[in-house]
């Protein structure tokens, strides 16, 4: 029986674009890929764009006068244009290519580590994060704190899996230099209301960094509407390749803040004793950039945009609602994170009686169902909710209601196995 939910995409057509979805596991089990928050699958269009690049235009970018170098440069810089348009950036020069989200966030932390006033951090200044951050938005700030003496503060979480902003005036104060917060939690699924945080941060003159790693793939991301100063995301979660991420930053800030990595491409002129730097974004892109990966990310953006990010968001909302209902019907299963389908992304974490997530994941795998188990690089969330780990199912544009059904059936099997 096929379920029909309002807002679903034509997944029959979409799934044909993803070669891996045809794979059979353990002999004859069709792959049910529910690990999209870890990484997304890659459509043929993206694979082909990269293959075509290697077979036709491969060269190092910039400075070359030969045809291949000009084509490679046009493709690489063209990908920057696509990203800028995708996130509604005021200027293409605000788009910096990094190797992943983590580097993008570390880039901001390191710019600030070496910045002069008015951005200077150190003793007497503080940095604010939240208890639902991914380790990649925790550890860079811990390192900054250790290295500079800046104090690290954070927002706690409510029992419902939402940010507790009740003490916002005490957490974000005149001492706060930067507030870095996740748009959509990769473990809880929570979509945060960033507006009050951005407002308060800007009131006290702090910069706002948004970790949009779980937002860019799933919803319309408009950096101007968001009002933040920096936004980070990563290619491999949005149908793109590994090896590329993006930091968007306000041009005025990128002009004033110091560079991070030094090397080829990021300079204006070099002598042995001193160098001057290229304007943004190149100032922050040392060395040969991820050229093929930018080509792939550009193709991924074309792919997603052709379907429409609003339609993808609606599809995932429908699937997530269906999954929440179905999982709530599984005896002994407890969702960790918002239990309703409001302001919620497509990742659902849960515990399952006292069966350890490793065992849950292993038995699901045997049925071809790929979920993630563990602390999902958000160990403080596990500590907060008193669980050692969770099982997480996460959806994307190709996910179907029958995959949710397969998960529920798989869980019944898990129960029998360990019963």
């Amino acid at each position: 029986m096929t379920v029909h939910l309002p807002g679903l995409l034509d997944t029959d057509a979409i799934r044909k674009d993803f070669p891996i979805l045809e794979r059979l596991l353990h002999g004859d089990r069709p792959l049910v890929y529910l690990d999209n928050a870890a990484t997304s699958q890659t459509p043929r269009q993206v694979i082909d764009a990269m293959t075509h690049y290697y077979a036709n235009s491969n060269a190092n970018v910039h400075r070359g006068v030969h045809v291949l170098a000009e084509e490679a440069t046009a493709l690489y810089e063209g990908a920057r244009d696509k990203v800028a348009q995708f996130i509604n950036a005021p200027s293409r020069d605000e788009v910096i290519f990094t190797k992943n989200s983590s580097e993008a966030i570390n880039l901001v932390a390191n710019m600030l580590t070496w910045a002069d006033e008015p951005f200077k951090v150190g003793v007497g200044a503080d940095v604010v994060i939240t208890e639902m951050e991914h380790h990649s938005n925790i550890v860079p700030w811990q390192l900054l704190a250790q290295r500079t003496g800046t104090k690290l503060k954070w927002f706690g979480l409510t029992d419902e899996g939402r940010l507790d902003l009740s003490n916002i005036e005490q957490v974000i104060t005149e001492e706060t230099k930067v507030v870095s917060v996740v748009h959509t939690s990769n473990i809880l699924g929570t979509v945060n209301d960033l507006e009050p945080i951005v407002r308060r941060a800007h009131d006290v003159g702090a910069l706002v960094v948004v970790d949009a790693s779980q937002a860019a793939p799933h919803t319309v991301l408009d950096v101007q509407a968001l009002g933040a100063d920096f936004v980070a995301f990563t290619g491999h979660k949005m149908c793109g390749p590994t090896g590329i991420g993006v930091l968007w930053g306000r041009l005025g800030l990128l002009e004033e803040l110091p560079p991070f990595l030094g090397g080829g491409e990021m300079i204006e002129t070099v002598t042995m004793s001193a160098s001057t730097y290229a304007p943004a974004p190149h100032k922050f892109e040392a060395g040969t950039p991820p050229i093929t990966e930018a080509v792939g990310l550009g193709a991924a953006i074309d792919y997603l945009s052709a379907i429409g990010m609003d339609r993808i968001a609606a599809h995932e909302h429908a699937i997530t609602g269906y999954a929440i209902d179905a999982l709530n019907g599984v005896e002994g299963l407890k969702i960790i994170g918002p239990a309703d389908n409001v302001a919620r992304g497509a990742a659902i974490s849960f515990t399952f009686g006292d069966i350890h997530p490793h065992d849950v994941g292993q038995v699901l795998d045997e049925q071809g169902i790929a979920v993630r188990v563990g602390h999902h690089c958000a160990r403080p969330v596990c500590l907060r909710y008193g669980v050692p780990a969770t099982t997480r199912a996460s959806f994307y544009l190709y996910s179907t209601p029958s995959e949710v059904d397969a998960l529920v059936a798989g869980l019944e099997h898990v129960r029998q196995f360990f019963g």
């Binding site: 350890h356 045997e366 563990g374 050692p388 780990a389 360990f418």
Partner: protein, 150 residues
Amino acid sequence: MKLDGMYQEIILDHYRHPHNKGLRDPFDTEVHHVNPTCGDEVTLRVKLDGEKVLDVSYEGQGCSISQASTSVMTDLVIGHTIEDALNAGDEFLALMQSKGQGEPDEDVLEDAVAFVGVSKYPARVKCALLGWMAFKDATAQALQTTEGQK
């Protein structure tokens, strides 16, 4: 089902009815080990007596593999010489690194031979080793203390 290779009945038995679980006195040393990738934890106590492992007791949480493996381990070491116990640990480690190719010596490893299937799953090898590593660590610490007292 292929999974049966990993979750052998003997493993599920130890998981459902673990041996020597619950911390006991007296003990020489207590250690706390964590598997950071999955949150499995064990607190383990060792009581030595000259040449022998007098007692091992533990408390912990984790997956069936880590819990069963710890239970099996206690059976294998309690009442044995320290040397035999550590030897068994080495054998078990070799088995776990065998990628399913190991041919375990049942005389040495007894119930622990059931874990040969686990060695095919790299992500689970650490689970199986958690209790053993804690035992090795606790024993080494206890021996050091005894050395120091000599």
